[in-house]
């Protein structure tokens, strides 16, 4: 299989992929709204950045939050909304950086992924997913707590159970999902 150079994707494909990824994010977010902090969104934003570049990746994150952050049954707050948009775009940027540094360059086919030859790459993706989520949680929790006038340490204490769920679930989503999705989307984009 050919490795599609990300910067050579036609703009129309990038635009379609941005819309597609944003739609998938929204659908999955609303479908999983009953499970707090367990979402596929972060994985999809990361993959968008990985496949299309930093700006399109960040756009997928921001566009998703534009809808999900405003039409949310748990309510919305402008400062938290900005924080989540910024935090989410980080997944896209790091996705792009991961591709730039050659992470997952061995993902040449879905067959390899299925035959579990990429567990080491999966582990790297899982670790990246965990750390990104850790930074995202720390940032958004601190913003959420500071705006109500509490000390930042309270953010860590109060957000601990949610952070664990978010970070561990994202580790597994990145571990099991990244390689397969990247290989599958690469194949379709190259067809």
């Amino acid at each position: 299989m050919r490795n599609i150079p990300r910067n050579r994707l036609p703009p129309i494909k990038i635009l379609s992929l941005i819309i597609l990824m944003t739609s998938i994010n929204l659908v999955s977010n609303y479908a999983m709204i009953g499970i707090p902090n367990v979402k596929f969104m972060d994985l999809f934003v990361f993959i968008s950045g990985y496949l299309m570049g930093a700006l399109p990746g960040a756009m997928v994150g921001v566009l998703t939050w534009l809808v999900y952050g405003t039409l949310n049954p748990y309510g919305s707050n402008l400062i938290i909304f900005v924080a989540t948009c910024l935090g989410e775009s980080l997944y896209g940027v790091v996705g792009w950086l991961s591709a730039k540094f050659g992470l997952g360059s061995n993902l040449s086919s879905l067959k390899e992924v299925k035959e579990k030859r990429v567990w080491w790459t999966n582990l790297k993706f899982g670790v990246i997913g965990f750390f990104l989520t850790f930074i995202y949680d720390l940032f958004t929790n601190i913003v959420s707590v500071v705006i109500v006038g509490l000390p930042p340490l309270m953010a860590i204490i109060q957000g601990a159970p949610f952070a664990i769920v978010h970070e561990v679930s994202n580790f597994f989503f990145f571990f099991f999902g990244c390689s397969a999705l990247i290989a599958a989307i690469k194949r379709d984009l190259g067809g």
Binding site: W120, I164, E167
Partner: protein, 151 residues
């Protein structure tokens, strides 16, 4: 894949575990602090609603058992306090009150009855209970005795 790179990723993986452990520690410490404060509040409420009394049960056969600092509701009668620490059987006399016939299965022998006493701190001796046990309202830190004796 270089050996250095492998160790870097393994270290990062272990750091993930460290973060999870730290979060769990914070979470459970926070929970324990929360439940400790709830417990202390409940204990303070309980203290307002209860009082300690000391009850001695003398079975008349050499067996004496103390129930020190037994928490009973404020304004509880001796009868209620006794029922908290022991299995009690009694007969109700409408004019007089409860007459205890058995404590913890001991009682009913001809000529022997359960009599109650209250410790007189001023004189340093046991005084006869002045009324039926259900009519006597205990005070904070009272010391009372049930004795199974020949009468």
């Amino acid at each position: 894949m270089g050996e250095r790179s492998s160790w870097m990723w393994i270290s990062l993986g272990l750091t993930c575990l460290l973060i999870v452990a730290a979060y769990l520690t914070i979470y459970y410490y926070n929970e324990s602090t929360h439940y400790k404060s709830l417990y202390e509040r409940a204990a303070a409420d309980l203290k307002k609603l209860t009082m300690p009394v000391n009850i001695l049960i003398d079975y008349g056969n050499g067996t004496r058992k103390w129930y020190n600092n037994t928490l009973v509701p404020r304004e509880a009668s001796l009868f209620l306090a006794t029922k908290i620490i022991a299995s009690v059987e009694s007969i109700t006399y409408p004019e007089m009150g409860e007459f205890v016939t058995s404590i913890n299965g001991v009682g009913g022998d001809p000529g022997r009855y359960w009599i109650w006493y209250i410790w007189n701190q001023n004189e340093g001796k046991w005084d006869w209970g002045p009324v039926a046990c259900d009519k006597y309202i205990l005070q904070d830190s009272d010391t009372v005795m049930w004795r199974y004796e020949q009468f």
